[in-house]
């Protein structure tokens, strides 16, 4: 199986799942969370690049750490999320560049999909399918929680538990996403398809399905253009996403 095909498969599955999960990043709070998590992966990616193991594996524990941080900080301090995310952003990048060799900076920051091997590809696909199934199951409850925590609680939904599940899903998607778009752009991979889909949808199905499809299309196109031109895939994917978003605002319903 050619490298191009392996990259494409990972791009399709992870891009699609990111788009799908991104539709649940509705409230400001939830959207803010994804950003710093992406930046926090950098120290983990740096370690992985230096010691030669899977960058998603390196990224994941740091993302989990980030989630725990954010969870604790939210509960313990009255600091607004914006302040916390700014601190976490900066710290993640700073720590990574203390020891990351500059030659490998690009892979860390914007990803290098051409490095993905058969093993990584298979694991990414399996994890993504798993993710999809979980998201499908919790989707209605998550939407309700986003609309009104009170309504959700009065329906007997365990809001804390679902928020935790959601955060874990984000951690996994961010860790998988670093393969494609590196540490800096993972939030965009999830958020932009959802924004585009929102402009074009009238109901929940169109929204969720639309974001998934847009995620798949932009990843595929980005990787295709990379194959043809040699420009880095990660940034290309995000740019395709941005163009789709612009088009969607023109056709906004």
């Amino acid at each position: 199986m050619s490298q191009f095909l392996l990259s494409l498969i990972v791009g399709i599955f992870v891009g699609g799942a990111s788009g799908y999960l991104g539709t649940l990043m509705l409230s400001k709070r939830m959207a803010l969370v994804a950003g710093p998590l992406g930046h926090l992966t950098l120290p983990g990616i740096a370690l992985a690049l230096i010691y030669g193991f899977d960058i998603s594996l390196g990224a994941f524990p740091f993302v989990v750490l980030g989630i725990v941080f954010i969870w604790l900080f939210e509960i313990r301090t009255k600091l607004p999320m914006e302040a916390l995310t700014a601190v976490i952003f900066a710290s993640g990048v700073a720590i990574a560049f203390l020891f990351l060799p500059i030659g490998q900076a690009e892979a860390a920051l914007v990803g290098d999909i051409s490095k993905v091997n058969r093993w990584e590809s298979a694991i990414s696909v399996v994890l993504t399918v798993f993710l999809f199934l979980i998201i499908i199951k919790i989707y209605p409850k998550m939407v309700l929680i986003n609309i009104s925590e009170d309504l959700a609680k009065s329906q007997g939904i365990d809001v804390k538990k679902h928020n935790l599940i959601y955060l874990i899903l984000i951690a996994v998607i961010v860790a998988l996403g670093v393969k494609i778009v590196g540490g800096l752009l993972t939030a965009a991979l999830a958020a932009i398809p959802a924004c585009s889909a929102r402009n074009l949808s009238r109901n929940l199905f169109q929204y969720a399905f639309g974001a998934t499809i847009i995620g798949i299309i932009s990843s595929s196109l980005g990787i295709l253009i990379f194959e043809l031109t040699g420009f880095p895939a990660g940034p290309l994917i995000i740019l395709v996403n941005a163009v789709i978003f612009l088009i969607s605002t023109i056709f906004k319903r």
Binding site: L26, S148, D150, K153, G156, N203, L204, Q206
Partner: protein, 249 residues
């Protein structure tokens, strides 16, 4: 509807000794204390609700009215006793849904979040006067009157015996207000509902309720609106001189 353990336990515990509760009694609250973030929001509140009552909770902003509703639902911790009738089903209409415009949600989507769309839902929509051709519309595109009706419809899914309604007319014009309250009275008759209504609007209290609790962090007065809403009591409640002219028809 899958219920979380803690809510079930709350309702179970609050219904113990239910045999001692008269058939007519829906809710009994004794010495309720609610503290949030170190501040006492509700102090020493006691009252009863009988089947068929329309009870209004009146008070200025920040008086603890929304907190009271949420506590009655088991959403907030409390001291004191809240006893609901056994197996009671409660419908809740919150004051605001500020984030609903962020989701591309059709009306049908919203209703399906609670329960799959079926004959019962259709019947409820008819009851609240919501036209079915509006089901495909985005919730964010509804007029405030239509939106209010959908919230009421939502609360009626599952056939509750009690409705908890938090300031239903926030942000609706005068004409909308009349209709929502008329709707509530109509639904009450059709479905034998008991209604707990939070409001800051005195006219609503006079026109629609048979019992009022005046709340400003602590109970100021309780009783029949005609007797209780004296200028002295209103002054205590709102902390300033309130002149209210009651039109007698």
């Amino acid at each position: 509807m899958k219920q979380e353990k803690s809510i079930i336990n709350f309702l179970k515990n609050s219904a113990k000794d239910c045999n001692s509760m008269e058939n007519n009694l829906i809710l009994k609250v004794t010495d309720l204390d609610v503290e949030l973030e170190g501040e006492k929001i509700i102090k020493n509140l006691s009252f009863e609700v009988k089947r068929g009552d329309i009870l209004t909770i009146l008070g200025p902003n920040g008086a603890g009215k929304t907190v009271l509703l949420k506590t009655l639902l088991g959403l907030l911790p409390h001291k004191g006793e809240i006893r609901w009738k056994k197996n009671i089903k409660i419908g809740y209409v919150p004051q605001r849904l500020p984030f609903i415009k962020d989701v591309p949600l059709s009306v049908k989507d919203l209703l399906k979040l609670k329960k799959s769309f079926d004959k019962e839902t259709r019947e409820i929509l008819g009851s609240v006067g919501f036209k079915e051709n509006l089901l495909k519309k985005k919730v964010g595109d509804l007029s405030s009157g239509q939106f209010q009706r959908i919230l009421v419809a939502w609360s009626l899914i599952g056939n509750p015996q009690v409705l908890l309604f938090d300031e239903p007319t926030t942000g609706i014009d005068i004409e909308g207000e009349e209709t929502v309250y008329r709707l509530l009275v109509k639904l009450k008759k059709e479905r034998e509902l008991t209604i707990l209504l939070v409001t800051h609007d005195l006219s609503v209290v006079y026109t629609f309720s048979n019992y009022v609790i005046c709340l400003n962090k602590q109970p100021i007065c309780c009783g029949f609106p005609q007797e209780i809403l004296t200028p002295e009591n209103l002054q205590k409640l709102y902390g300033a001189e309130v002149k209210y002219y009651r039109h007698t028809h």
